[in-house]
Structure formats: structure tokens, C-alpha cells
């Protein structure tokens, strides 16, 4: 081994790196024979010793408590943020559940109300038909009674009044009207209850 080759292994020798015997032994032999390389090896070994002393001295060095204090504060903040988030989700879940229950209740109530209304209107119209004089009705062509006001109570007693209305009034009840004859009069039966309130109307031809 010459000085140049020794230079390539001297750091490894000084650092105590694991080296193959065919490299280490010639290196040691060269250092024994060459004063300059022996000095170089001694210098590297001295550096390794000082380095080891520095490592030992540094081993106890740690981040000051100030750092762990700041991190503990960050942990507390994270914990608080997580708790806030949990509370928010719980509130949202409760609010959602309440809203769902209210919607469900409202839906059921609405359905019941509509069903009841339909039944009452149907009963009111049936009662109105019964109140009409059957003899007169048999001779004329007429529409069904069209309810004018909503009243859940079926009509018990009432009277039928024949009137004449402009043909254009048919359109107010959704019936087709020939606009050319809008001024003509058409007969209608008004179904009045005992209070004189018009409950339904039918058109007669």
C-alpha cells in the first residue's frame, strides 16, 4: 500500500469502521513504515476521540422545557378544537333529528287533514244532491254541484234557488265558455244553507 492508497482508508481506520483484513493489515503496515501517514492516522484518531467527547457531551442536550410547553399548549388547543367539533356535530345531529321528526309529524297531520276534508266535501255534495227537487232535475241537463266555499260540515238543511247568470260566469268554475255568447244568460241552481250562505252551484241547460 502506498500513501495515496492509505489516504483512502485512513478515515475508516480512525473511525473504527469494519474493514476487510486485506485492506486493514496493509494499512497498518504502511502506517508503521511511513511517519507521515502515521501522523495522519494519529491525527484522525485524535479527531475521532474529540468527536466522541463531543458526542458524549451532547448526549444530554435536549430541547428546553419551553418547547415541550408550547407543544403541550398546541395539544390542549387540538383537544379543545376536537371537543368543539364534537359538540358541533352533536348539535347538528340533534337539530337534524328534531327537524326530521317535525317534518314527519307535519306530513302525517297534513295527510289526515286532507283526508278529512275530502270526506267532508264529498258528504256535503251528497247532501246537496239529496236536497234538490228530484222531479225538476229529471227534466233538465245540469252539471254536478260545484262547491263554492269550503265547509267541513255537511249541509243538513237548505234551499235551492234558480237564478240566471251571464254565461261568462261558467269560466269562473272552470267550465268551457263560448266567448261569442258570453253575454247570454244561463240558468243556475244555487244551494243555500239555513243561514242563506251559498254552498254550491250547478248550471242548468
Amino acid at each position: 500500500m502506498n500513501c495515496s492508497e492509505f489516504e483512502s482508508v485512513v478515515v475508516g481506520m480512525a473511525r473504527g469502521e469494519v474493514m476487510d483484513a486485506p485492506v486493514l493489515q496493509p494499512g497498518m503496515a504502511h502506517a508503521a513504515a511511513c511517519p507521515r501517514c502515521a501522523d495522519r492516522l494519529a491525527s484522525e484518531k485524535n479527531l475521532s476521540e474529540v468527536m466522541a467527547a463531543a458526542v458524549a457531551e451532547d448526549a444530554a442536550r435536549e430541547a428546553p422545557p419551553r418547547v415541550s410547553g408550547i407543544l403541550a399548549g398546541a395539544l390542549r388547543e387540538r383537544r379543545a378544537a376536537a371537543a368543539r367539533l364534537r359538540r358541533l356535530w352533536v348539535r347538528r345531529a340533534i337539530a337534524g333529528a328534531i327537524a326530521a321528526m317535525l317534518l314527519l309529524g307535519a306530513g302525517v297531520a297534513l295527510r289526515k287533514t286532507l283526508d278529512a276534508r275530502a270526506a267532508r266535501v264529498s258528504a256535503a255534495l251528497s247532501a246537496a244532491k239529496e236536497a234538490v227537487d228530484p222531479v225538476d232535475a229529471a227534466d233538465e241537463v245540469m252539471t254536478d254541484f260545484i262547491p263554492v266555499v269550503y265547509d267541513p260540515d255537511p249541509i243538513g238543511h237548505g234551499s235551492l234557488v234558480r237564478v240566471e247568470l251571464p254565461r261568462a260566469a261558467l269560466s269562473a268554475f272552470g267550465l268551457p265558455v263560448n266567448e261569442d255568447r258570453g253575454e247570454d244568460l244561463v240558468q243556475a241552481d244555487l244551494l243555500l244553507d239555513d243561514d242563506g250562505l251559498m254552498r254550491a252551484v250547478r248550471f242548468v241547460e
Binding site: 478515515v11 485524535n46 479527531l47 458526542v55 457531551e57 430541547a63 407543544l71 398546541a74 387540538r78
Partner: protein, 198 residues
Amino acid sequence: MMVLTNLADDELLRLVASGSEEAFNVLYQRRQGPVYRFSLQMSGSSSIAEEVTQEIFLMLLTDSSSYDAGRGTLASYLYGIARRLVWRRMAQSRSHFPLAVVESEDGHTPEHLVAFPEMERDLARDEAVRSLRRAILALPAGYREAVVLCDLHELSYADAAQILGCAVGTVRSRLHRARALLAERLAAKTAVVGRCLV
């Protein structure tokens, strides 16, 4: 806590991500020392070392997703981040003078200690360590990184190469050159100290 201390870094980090404060504390106790020492040895500034350590662990606490276990160990990852942060901090504070911060002693030798051979030897060693630290801080960046990682933190060439993002051969040659410079400066300093103590 007893169980957590047996867990590997990766497992602890997963627990930290899922909100475990105990896992974070274990991880911090395990890794803060090397991170702090590396930052201190690289910068020579305890304030930079503190800031870097704090920033790294805050980052682990808030977002650990940037660590990919498939690309290396957590220790290497932390060294890599510390390295970037240290250089950034040092670039931001160019006026910082690192040599005075590493050691608070004034460097003067008390005369009543010189007569005792053991203390004299300790003093010489302490002086050598101080000189070494100054010499390391005076090294070019690449050389300094190689010495700190391979000699002061006793990492393998491969680990150091991974942290520095270069080839193993590059680390080896940088370390070789850096040590030659350090040995030279240390020898010169030792000769001066030796003359003073005689």
C-alpha cells in the same frame, strides 16, 4: 404508556394522526433530542435549534401525512426536515454569529486549575471539543452536514445519503475531506493550547 414506548415510530405516528396525545408525547421524548442536537450542531444557535424542533413537532401534530414510510425511516425524515429548516433559518438571520452560542464559557483558563494534571487533561479536552465545534461550524455546508450526521449522530453513510439526497460515495468523500480539514485545525489548536499549558 408502557405499551406505547414499545411501538415503532411509524405506529406512533399513526396514533398521533388519529388523535393520541400519549403517542405524541412518546414520539416527542424519543425524537426531540436528535432533532434538537442536529439543529444546534448545524446552526450553532440554541434559538434556531429550539424553533426548528418546535416547528417540526408542531407539523407532526397537525399534519403528519407528508411522511411516507415507504421512502425511509421517520428519523431520516425528521433529519431531512430539520436540515431544510435550519438552512432556511440561517439564511433569514445572516447576522447570526454562531460561534459564541454553542458554548457560554469565555474560553479563559483559570490559573489555579493548571497545576493539576487531571484537570489539565480535562481542560485540554474541553478546549479541543470547543475548537472542534467552532471548526465544524466553519465548514462548508455539505461538509458540515456529512460530519454532523456521520460522526456526531453516528448515522451510516447510506442513511446520511438518504437524508442529504445524494450518493453514498458523495457522503463518503465529503466526510473524508471535512475530517481532513477538522484534523488540521484541531492539530493547530492543540499545539497552541499545549504551548499555553506548558
